[in-house]
Amino acid sequence: MPSYVITEKCDSCAGQDKTACMYICPHDLMALKEQVDPITKKVIVNPETNNPVMKAVNQEPVQCWECYSCVKICPQQAISIRCYADFAPLGGEVIPMLGSDSIMWTVKFRNGNIKRFKFPVRTVEAGSVDIFAGVGEAKADISRIKAPGLYTQHANGDPRTAITPA
């Protein structure tokens, strides 16, 4: 499959400004599709609105890198990964829980063993980065545009900026 969506949990990000998995997938794999009952083959409709029920689907599992971007971003924790079945036996699972400064991992083995890990992901809060802090003026010295070195190297007086092969 690689990534799969649990039918009951996916709410198609209704009420949000975008469908999270569809927004983030680097390979354009996640799509909202009408749900068809696998047994009756009938399109499932919402009894209140009479509209077809839309849910996220990995539309091209053979191209999935298992990067877990969709799993990490899903607000409903509706997405998981079933490891590539052409070489991996069933029953293993890796589950991420991404927080604001760290990530928790649960690794479930086929034999039921479980390992848990927690790692930091960032030391500056998302959205609070100041790209102009600590590196001199926001404006580069245009007279140095033909000189070797990058803006912050110039601003910080990096001694390596203009060295040439000895």
Binding site: P26, E60, A88, F119, K146, A147, Q153
Partner: protein
């Protein structure tokens, strides 16, 4: 077959959006994010507009989308001269030393910025104890810029907690773009989910870039960008060769599966000179999951052996020396592959990496708590960058701290940033290097105004994530310089907007026109669907251009047979059909992938030696031939005739 035409008879014509800018950044990975950041500093005060166009969402686009557990290029106490020696050594004696040295003097600056922006970097305390990036921050250890001590996994590599590496780098790039947008008063300068498929050349000067065209994969819209200068920052090429996986595991490419050779194909079509397109990378990795081995070998000191317990790099050394002479002793990445494959072919496999022995040895002098930490470090290496490998182990009940794992050389990939050097021929630094390596603007291709970075720059590998970002920054500054120098020059292309739209949407028209002809739209004599097109390309490349099926072996006769099939692959690509925008994306990725694959085959055909044993072999020229081939192989492509002009360029050694 009848040529396909698109007169919008069956498929609806998309809206055409035209956007004008000065600096156009095609791609959103490490290189393009670096370009955006640096360009903002130089270009914004000059009133120049910057626009980034990414085929995905920039937070998770490019090769670093999943994250990384190490930054592989951080010089620190090392000199750029030694960096050149290391890169030259691994690339079998041939590299653009001017480009590599130039990168060596700027790359650390990008790493320092990453740390400023919140990337956790492992540190070593005074007693040599390892702390993760957050612990190091809590204990107020100095940053790298202020002399902090990174945890070196190798001479050039430092360990990070890099799950959010790309998100962090993207945040800075987006802030830079927003700063530029506000200052220049444009409505939008960051476009996601737009796939650029072609460059547009100036109508008065076909050697000058004037814009680019692509389409939205979300709405029925064609996007035409007019620009003064453009960056090609669209990565390497994956899935050009048949994969070892047979079904859904084909997505588990070692390199990002979305890298479709766009950088090489769009450059080739624009007439830009390519270099070293014969080069490829065949990573020897944990079998099937392709998890990273670097930290295991370098940080945890694991050893790999054949089934007899022998170190194949020792037992096969003298035999390998017969063909490869002094290059054997350098033990470059391809040479280690070569010696590993000797044993695999002799039935001495499986080749295993003894992760269990390595960790047990390290544990001998550790407390329980320290052992737990070590185990977490080992798992983080995978969970940060190749989660699927952890999945493969979990599924197989394997704990690497308890059992060894099998290694396997993967299918080939084309790239210029890792342990490979395919790419474009670019101008070198402004202040040193031979004249023939420099034509004005650092990292500009042979097409005026067209720059590239990361996987796009050929003949200079081992840049990795940090180097790709830094190289993008070099472009950002030089693109600004180019814009200022050409101010007032009129740049425009002559292509008719509607004709461009027709060409791009051709696969949509083909599907709409013919799909009803058969009861199954997958099997139809009028067209081929992109998924199948890709399989056909991969099979031809595998069998004739030295893929896994032939143990990476090819020859003049095999290549020439393969060219016949490749020509028909190219002809048939014009008959691809796309049911929807997603499939149109795949169709255009394949146009790019096919041309990148063809460039690879043409270059291998030209270089009559085996420069990279373990990556590929010319069976008719099995040895390294320094007398005739210690040079770059370059080429240009004529898109009108489909002809390749392949030729030699001199290699200059700049560092003793």
């Amino acid at each position: 077959m009848e040529p396909k035409v698109n007169n919008w008879e069956f498929c609806k014509k998309p809206e055409i959006v035209v956007h004008e800018t000065d600096l156009l950044l095609i791609g959103g990975g490490m290189a393009a994010c670096g370009t955006a950041y640096e360009a903002d500093r130089w270009a914004t005060p000059e009133g120049l507009r910057i626009t980034m166009v990414d085929k995905a969402a920039t937070d998770r686009s490019g090769a670093v989308a999943m994250g990384l557990s190490a930054i592989n290029t951080y010089l620190g106490e090392n000199s750029p001269e030694d960096y050149v020696r290391y890169v030259r050594n691994d690339l079998m004696g041939i590299t653009r030393e001017d480009l590599t040295f130039d990168l060596g003097r700027v790359v650390d600056d990008s790493v320092h910025l990453f740390e400023d922006w919140g990337l956790p970097i492992w540190k070593k305390d005074e007693e040599g104890k390892r702390l993760d990036g957050a612990q190091a921050q809590r204990e107020e250890m100095p940053s790298l810029r202020d002399g902090g001590n990174p945890v070196r996994s190798g001479r050039w590599q430092i360990m990070i907690n890099g799950e959010s590496y790309k998100v962090i780098v993207a945040e800075a790039a987006k802030l830079a773009l927003e700063n530029n947008r506000k200052a220049t008063g444009v409505d939008q300068n960051h476009f996601e989910r737009i796939f650029i498929v072609k460059l547009l050349m100036d109508q008065n000067d076909p050697k000058k870039v004037a814009g680019a065209v692509g389409f939205s994969v979300r709405e029925h819209k064609i996007y035409i960008f007019k620009c003064k200068t453009a960056l090609l920052g669209t990565g390497g090429c994956v899935n050009v060769f048949k994969t070892r996986a047979t079904a859904e595991g084909q997505g588990r490419a070692w390199f990002p599966v979305w890298n479709s050779g766009s950088n090489y194909a769009m450059a080739a079509e624009s007439g830009a000179e390519m270099t070293m397109m014969e080069n490829r990378f065949v990573p020897a990795r944990f079998k099937d999951g392709y998890g990273p081995v670097g930290a295991w070998f370098l940080l945890f000191k694991a050893k790999a052996t054949n089934a007899l317990g022998e170190d194949y790099c020792a037992t096969n050394l003298e035999e390998s020396r017969k063909l490869y002479g002094k290059y054997v002793d350098s033990l470059g990445t391809c040479m280690r592959n070569h010696m590993m494959m000797i044993d695999m072919k002799a039935g001495k496999g499986p080749i295993k990496i003894h992760t269990d022995v390595a960790l047990q040895k390290l544990s001998e002098t550790m407390s329980k708590k320290e052992i737990k930490h070590l185990e977490a470090e080992a798992w983080e290496d995978f969970l940060d960058m190749t989660i699927a490998q952890a999945g493969v182990w979990a599924a197989n009940n394997m704990e690497p701290e308890k059992v060894p794992s099998e290694l396997m050389p993967s299918e080939p990939y084309l790239l210029g940033s890792h342990a490979g050097c395919a790419g474009l021929w670019t101008s070198g630094p402004e202040d040193f290097g031979p004249d023939e390596y420099s034509w004005g603007y650092n990292r500009m291709t042979t097409v005026n105004g067209l720059f590239t970075a990361g996987d796009g720059v050929g003949a200079s590998g081992h840049k990795f994530s940090s180097g790709s970002h830094a190289e993008g920054r070099i472009c950002g500054k030089n693109m600004t310089s180019y814009c200022l120098d050409t101010k007032g020059e009129d740049v425009s292309f002559s292509e008719d907007h509607d004709e461009l739209a027709k060409e791009i949407y051709m696969p949509m028209e083909t599907f709409a026109k013919y799909s009803n002809y058969t009861t199954d739209p997958n099997i139809n004599p009028h067209y081929i669907r992109p998924g199948m097109m890709q399989q056909r390309l991969q099979k031809v490349m595998d069998e004739y251009v030295g893929g896994v099926g032939t143990w990476y072996m090819t020859s003049k006769s095999m290549l020439e047979e393969g060219f016949k099939y490749l020509d028909m692959v190219k002809e048939d690509s014009l008959h691809m059909a796309a049911e929807n925008l997603h499939e149109l994306l795949r169709a255009w990725e394949n146009f790019h992938r096919i041309l990148a694959g063809e460039a690879h085959a043409r270059h291998i055909h030209f270089r009559e030696e085996t420069r990279y044993p373990g990556y590929y072999y010319r069976g008719d020229f099995l040895a390294i031939d320094d007398e005739n081939w210690k040079c770059f192989v370059n080429s240009t492509y004529n898109k009108e005739t489909g002809d390749w002009n392949v030729f030699k360029r001199e290699y200059h050694q700049l560092i003793p």
